[in-house]
C-alpha cells in the first residue's frame, strides 16, 4: 500500500490514519492479543471497564499482562509497580526515535503529548514506515488517527475476550486464556533479533517459575534484573572476545 500522502486537511489525515490501522497486519495481532488479555482479566476477577481503561491509559500489552497477572496473584503493589516500570523502559527510546519525525517548525509541546502517550510497538513500527513519505504538516494527525484505530481495536476485542471467557465452557475459556502466553512467547521470540534478547527470553522462562517456586520476594523484578543483566553480560563478553 503506498503511503497516503495527499491529504487536504488534518481531519482527512486523521481518518487516513484510522483506515491505515484497521487494514494493517497489526489489526489481527491486536485482535488476538486483546481477546487473550480480556479472558485473562475476567479470570483474575477484574471488571471489563477496568480492562478498557487500562488499555487506554497503559496502552502497552506486556505491561497490562504483567499488571493483571501480578495483581491477580496477590503480589504487593510495590512489586507490581516495579515490574511494570521495568517492562516499560523500552518505551523511552521509542519515543525518542519517533518525535523527530513529528516535530516541525511551529510544533508545540502539547501537540506532541498525544503521540507520546500513544507510542507502542504497533503504532511505532507503522509510523516509522509510513511517516517519512508524508508531508510534515499531516504527520501528527495521521499518527493520532493510526493510534486511535489501534487503541479502539484493543478496547473492542478486550471486551469480546472478557465476555467470551465468561460465557464459554471451561475447555474453550482455557483455550482463550492460553492465547496470551502462546502469542507473547512467539512474538517475543520473533522480536528477539539479537543473541542478547534470545538469551534473556530463555533465562526469563526459567528464572520466573523457579523464583516463584522458591517463594522469593519481588520475584518478577529479580527475574528481569538477574536474567536481563546475565544476558547482557554474556553479550558484552562475546563482543569483547571478537
Amino acid at each position: 500500500m503506498p503511503a497516503p500522502n495527499t491529504f487536504t486537511s488534518s481531519t482527512a489525515a486523521f481518518f487516513g490514519g484510522v483506515k491505515s490501522a484497521v487494514t494493517s497486519v497489526f489489526f489481527l495481532v491486536l485482535m488476538g492479543t486483546y481477546i487473550g488479555i480480556g479472558a485473562l482479566a475476567h479470570d483474575f476477577g477484574l471488571a471489563s471497564w477496568w480492562l478498557a481503561l487500562s488499555s487506554m491509559l497503559i496502552w502497552a500489552a506486556p505491561a497490562q499482562v504483567i499488571l493483571i497477572s501480578a495483581l491477580g496473584a496477590g503480589a504487593s503493589l510495590f512489586e507490581v509497580a516495579i515490574a511494570v516500570t521495568l517492562s516499560a523502559i523500552r518505551l523511552f527510546p521509542m519515543v525518542v526515535a519517533l518525535l523527530p519525525l513529528l516535530r516541525g517548525q511551529g510544533t508545540r509541546l502539547r501537540d506532541l503529548l498525544l503521540p507520546t502517550h500513544f507510542t507502542s510497538v504497533s503504532m511505532w513500527v507503522e509510523s516509522l514506515r509510513l511517516l517519512p513519505a508524508m508531508p510534515q504538516q499531516w504527520r501528527i494527525a495521521f499518527c493520532n488517527g493510526l493510534s486511535v484505530g489501534y487503541m479502539g481495536t484493543a478496547v473492542v476485542f478486550g471486551f469480546a475476550g472478557y465476555y467470551l471467557a465468561a460465557g464459554l465452557p471451561p475447555l474453550f475459556a482455557g483455550t482463550l486464556l492460553f492465547l496470551t502466553p502462546m502469542s507473547f512467547l512467539i512474538s517475543t521470540a520473533r522480536n528477539a533479533h539479537m543473541m542478547v534478547d534470545r538469551l534473556a527470553l530463555v533465562l526469563g522462562l526459567v528464572l520466573g517459575p523457579v523464583l516463584t517456586a522458591m517463594q522469593v520476594q519481588l520475584d518478577l523484578m529479580w527475574t528481569g534484573v538477574v536474567g536481563g543483566t546475565l544476558a547482557y553480560a554474556v553479550h558484552r563478553l562475546r563482543e569483547a572476545a571478537r
Binding site: 489481527l28 477484574l46 477496568w50 491509559l57 497503559i58 506486556p62 505491561a63 499482562v65 504483567i66 499488571l67 497477572s69 503493589l77 509497580a81 516495579i82 516500570t85 521495568l86 517492562s87 516499560a88 523502559i89 523500552r90 518505551l91 523511552f92 527510546p93 519515543v95 525518542v96 518525535l99 507520546t116 502517550h117 475447555l171 474453550f172 475459556a173 482455557g174 483455550t175 482463550l176 486464556l177 492460553f178 502462546m182 502469542s183 507473547f184 512467547l185 512467539i186 517475543t188 520473533r190 528477539a192 542478547v196 534478547d197 534473556a200 527470553l201 522462562l205 526459567v206 517459575p209 523464583l211 516463584t212 520475584d219 518478577l220 527475574t223 536474567g227 536481563g228 543483566t229 547482557y232
Partner: protein, 115 residues
C-alpha cells in the same frame, strides 16, 4: 464511604501501579528527546531486562495457571506451548501458524485428558 472506596480502589491501583510507572518512560522520552539510538548500551540492557520479565510472566501463566486454564493438565499446557513454538520455527517464523498450532494442540489435549 467505604463502599465508594471499595468501588474506586481497583481504578486507583490501575493509575498508581499501572499507568504512572509505565507512562513515566514515555514522558521522559518527550522531555529528553535527544539522540539515543537503538544500539546504545543502556537500551540493549533495558530491552534484555524487559524481555526477561515478560518471559517470566509467560512461563508462570503456563506453569501456574489459574481458572479455566488450570482445568487442563500441566503436561498438556507445556506440550501445547512447545508444539506451537516448534510450528512457528518450522513454518518460516509465522506467528499466526505458531499460535494456531499451539491452540489446536491445547484444545485436543484438553479434550482428551481434562478432568
Amino acid at each position: 464511604m467505604n463502599a465508594v472506596m471499595a468501588e474506586l480502589w481497583p481504578y486507583l491501583v490501575l493509575v498508581l501501579v499501572g499507568f504512572l510507572p509505565n507512562e513515566i518512560w514515555r514522558l521522559l522520552g518527550l522531555v529528553l528527546a535527544r539522540g539515543l539510538n537503538e544500539d546504545s548500551e543502556i537500551v540493549v540492557w533495558s530491552r534484555a531486562v524487559a524481555t526477561a520479565i515478560l518471559a517470566g510472566v509467560i512461563a508462570k501463566l503456563i506453569l501456574f495457571s489459574s481458572g479455566a486454564l488450570a482445568t487442563i493438565p500441566l503436561p498438556v499446557r507445556v506440550a501445547a506451548a512447545v508444539c506451537g513454538f516448534l510450528a512457528y520455527l518450522v513454518m518460516r517464523r509465522s506467528v499466526f501458524v505458531g499460535v494456531a498450532v499451539g491452540e489446536a494442540a491445547l484444545l485436543l489435549g484438553g479434550f482428551l485428558f481434562s478432568h
